[in-house]
Symmetry: D2
Subunit: 352 residues, 4 copies
């Protein structure tokens, strides 16, 4: 029996929406229905996403409930704030997957502090690999819901690198630092001067330095779920001249009383992700480059202990649009719909 | 009176040597004499550095003492190990400036641990801005020597960002972290697979992760000179697709007992570098991009305190080949020869 | 019934070989057998192609007949000269696919002039879309052979753009010009100074200017097969800072007596490729970018007539490693093995 | 005697304006007065051009006649249409230099056809190297005017490559083709989707294909002045992922009756530009890369004859913002003000 799941995509004209289309187009069980946009409604999709010729003749519709309803799945790739409003009008039986931030945070104060609007409620979190120190496994939550909040791309990189060492505990989570080299597609398609090619080429540009990035509370939340009592993280993203990719370098001191060894850390990392199809632990001493992840749903991770600095260094590379966004959405969708988790996803990157 | 200083350059075919030529060519008081190379001896310079047409017809000579002697200044842009041997044969009255690592470290054990060869001795350090907690100012040392060891490029970025907060003390130097986005010219012209354009484009590549980078003991040395009692630093360089530039993100917890405030940190940074011609403190909340430093001898710095993470974030952007190498050499040469420190250098970058 | 075809790859460590592995790994009917290399024999594949984690634990074998024999298909991704020698020792019943140049040219004098060695003979040409003015269709030749010569990447771009207008005739093939913006993976993995990232970033580098490029006789051959009586083409490749992609801009005057119109040219182009699964004719006035082709087997083409210049402009964008090399190999393999031509290939690019 | 010339810049916030500031800042005889902008008036210059720290505290003024008047020189870096209006209100004794297109074309019909507005009149053309087959030398015209129209960047590249062969005549100017690899700063700072970094990185994007580019009539005009009777040129610009640089590949058949030889062409090119300080003829067989021109006022040119294609290939590399725009403005200003032509300009590029 061949199962077909119909999917509508709201915000299909942006980078996250476009990446979902790219993956859905190659998925053996998904059938794309309504594709909607805001200012670009009315255009053929070929004018917006020329890399998907199979959909070039589709027309972008307006983002209305009428257009989105009557699909098995609705994917929301919208600015924050917009998702909640639409989701509220969709049937409870429709699987709604939000690529935006609206339903990720559990703490309304955190939401209000970082986003400045009222909290729309929390949905099960679309990171199947999330370690839950207590309660049901994350995959069980995803298998049992009609609402999924897909993680932030930077959050996924930091969480996958760090979470194995939280509950063990190997690391002191109150003194975390993370610096991320990030590609420009992560900044979206909005027209801002610093996102111009002439500004980006030949430059490394930091932003949201000093604790203001909205992905911080989401990281804190994840590591707390993974078993951390207190989490404090210095988080600095740096835009570098590539269209895709995140390389996260996370460091932490050893947990009090722990004398770490790289071998043991590596073995623990390997054991943690032994059954994860989309997390690849590299051999000791081998560090990931983002190019290897391009187009793939793979997150490469590794760890070492720097004895002289007395610091554990954890690294993760992934494609911000795939494992960081649309791939995670497909993976979660597969779980929620009872499909094979790997359906429509690849671990093979397009490199060099 | 117009003063002319004759300069020979050994290793003129590499990136560091080439950058010294670029700057020397525009310097009002320098006259380039012998330009030497190893495998490329015999070639016209135009075949190696086509961006300096004024020198295109010069022929690269062999790197011999005969060729190098009889100049006021000899600049060594050689692989480590090679400088020491040549320097030993040059007259004590010749100003010798080593762009390599041979004479930077004071501690022979550190040298041997990181470089695996015997120590060649220590020369005055070519960073005029280095804060010395004790003894004479760095400029005085440079004004009074015929031997100068130019700092490592990553070291300069980390030192300039961090040193103002060491002796105050604002930061706890035993828990430093530094992640650097670095351009490919910093890796030199050696033919290695990971330096190929096809590998670099679209990728962020970390290397020397976990404490093995040779710039680490040099950073420790500098911050100790600046007044730190103990220094431990987790140091991670990440190659990103740009030809030039370093963006260093350094973090540290506040020093014990200190409750920092961004305003106060910024004021302290501003005061520290108030008279430095080549260190530019950006306004509060403005973070440097490397593009602004291209071709200039400027280091841009800034600082903030992230209260939630309880961490001070210090940032520095510079051009690895200019302020990171050849510009620092010119600046030190100017001091040693009694020229205006800014001669032949610009603070204006070639951007975008 | 599920058909499985076993494939060995000689030269699996290079970019062309690696790209074949990437595609073969996702192909529903191919099973990868021996993967061989020269200097990298003995290494795990993960050390060479980290983007294909599913093959990371495979070991690269030596390139010997013993290792390559006993597969249904042998793919040769070797320097020119090497393929012919190995191919001669493989059974006539094995499908041998040469990604190199050895068996592309029919004219021994052309071969000797451009390659300087003796001619190894000609195999059916792995471009299913090649228009043959006379004799059997190209797909028929490919369906009926055990030896296939895969085209050069630049050749494919120029041929697909130009061939529809040759026999009609719309263009004067004696005054063709082609300038190609090409990514660095097309230059292979050999360590040469001009292929270093520091040289490539921020630069456009022409090479083989003035008629010396080895792809020229291959273009001439193709257009002659497509019906041109005489072909003369000025061909200039320009390396630009991207890892993949070719954008070919081809121009020609109208054929004698022809008064062209863009509409009619576009209609003719559309009709020519109407049934081609991997050639996509863009709407009038829409020009292709290479990013849309990344990882896809798609060639985008378009045409216009510039009345003032009295010149027809034909453009083609493709991924040099896919439609330009390994994708063409898979497509031809599919035909030769009686599989669906599209098996294992996608038209969807990884963009942005 | 030290001569000081005061300069105001209208449109100082854009890339062309910013580049003029960069050069003027280092010019021994220029003193920058009013710097004006439109939407960014009121901002400190440091917020707009962080690469010029010496001007960081200057405030951008509104673009009014009051602000611009009372300077020796006014530079207009404005959208086309705007320059003419302002220039008309400035005193005839003020040297006005227009970086825009308004006053370049002599033929009102050409202007109206390509720009769609009424013609503002023609000013002496700021290309000192322009060959004039008849009448006074271009430098004489520039030495004798208070109004200068600076050429378009692509035009300069094509003209410098081609003009030596026009009057000789070596080439048939009725069958020219030009394909240019161009960096993104040439497209200006306007916020357009295809100029976003995520679109540019990893892609080659053609635009204005088929004869619509506004630089075409300007090329035709220049080559006519250089002695061509008829000019027809197929002109295709391709945006490639670099911030600066133009590499123009121009081809033409030999003029009727001419049997060209590369040696003779090269000698003619060398002789033509023998006394030009900013045009550098590379040795036979050496082709220019754009990186070598970064920040320099140098145009590198070369030529060859491709016998098989029966086509002469002429190439030029330059920095679009320097020799292509602001450097040409400084050079012309120097001539008009009676300063040394090279003042404030360098031939040394910032590479790699």
């Amino acid at each position: 029996m061949h199962m077909t799941v119909t999917v509508a995509v709201a915000g299909a004209s942006g980078y996250a929406g476009g990446e979902f289309l790219r993956l859905a187009q190659g998925h053996p069980h998904l059938e794309l229905g309504a594709l909607t946009a805001h200012t670009q409604a009315g255009l053929p999709l070929g004018a917006v996403h020329p890399h998907i010729p199979a959909l070039a003749h589709r027309t972008l519709l307006a983002t209305t409930i009428d257009n989105l309803a009557h699909h098995d799945v609705v994917v929301l790739a919208l600015p924050h704030g917009a998702s909640a409003e639409i989701a509220a009008q969709l049937p409870a039986t429709t699987l709604v997957i939000d690529l935006g931030a609206d339903h990720r945070l559990t703490d309304p104060h955190e939401w209000e502090h970082y986003y400045g609007s009222s909290h729309a409620g929390t949905w099960p979190y679309g990171m199947p690999e999330l370690i839950r120190a207590h309660g049901p496994a994350q995959r069980q939550l995803l298998g049992d819901t009609r609402r999924i909040a897909v993680p932030g791309c930077n959050v996924t990189a930091v969480t996958l690198a760090t979470q194995p060492f939280v509950a063990s505990p190997h690391i002191d989570t109150t003194a975390l630092t993370a610096v991320l080299a990030v590609g420009y597609s992560g900044a979206g398609k909005t027209l801002k001067p610093h996102l111009l090619a002439a500004e980006a080429l030949g430059s490394a540009q930091p932003y949201a330095v000093g604790g203001s990035h909205r992905h911080i509370p989401e990281i804190v939340q994840n590591l707390s779920i993974a078993g951390a009592e207190n989490v404090a993280i210095s988080f600095t993203p740096v835009l570098v001249p590539m269209s895709r990719g995140i390389l996260a370098t996370v460091t932490a001191p050893p947990a009090p009383g722990v004398t770490p060894a790289t071998d043991e850390l590596h073995a623990h990392l390997t054991a943690t992700y032994a059954h994860e199809p989309f997390v690849d632990v590299l051999p000791p001493g081998v560090w990931p480059s983002t190019a290897a992840t391009t187009g793939a749903n793979t997150a490469y991770v590794n760890v070492t202990y720097d004895q002289r600095a007395n610091r554990i260094v954890m690294m993760c590379a992934l494609d911000n649009l795939v494992k960081g966004t649309a791939g995670a959405a497909i993976q979660s969708l597969n779980i929620a719909q009872g499909l094979t988790e790997q359906a429509g996803l690849t671990t093979t990157g397009v490199a060099p």
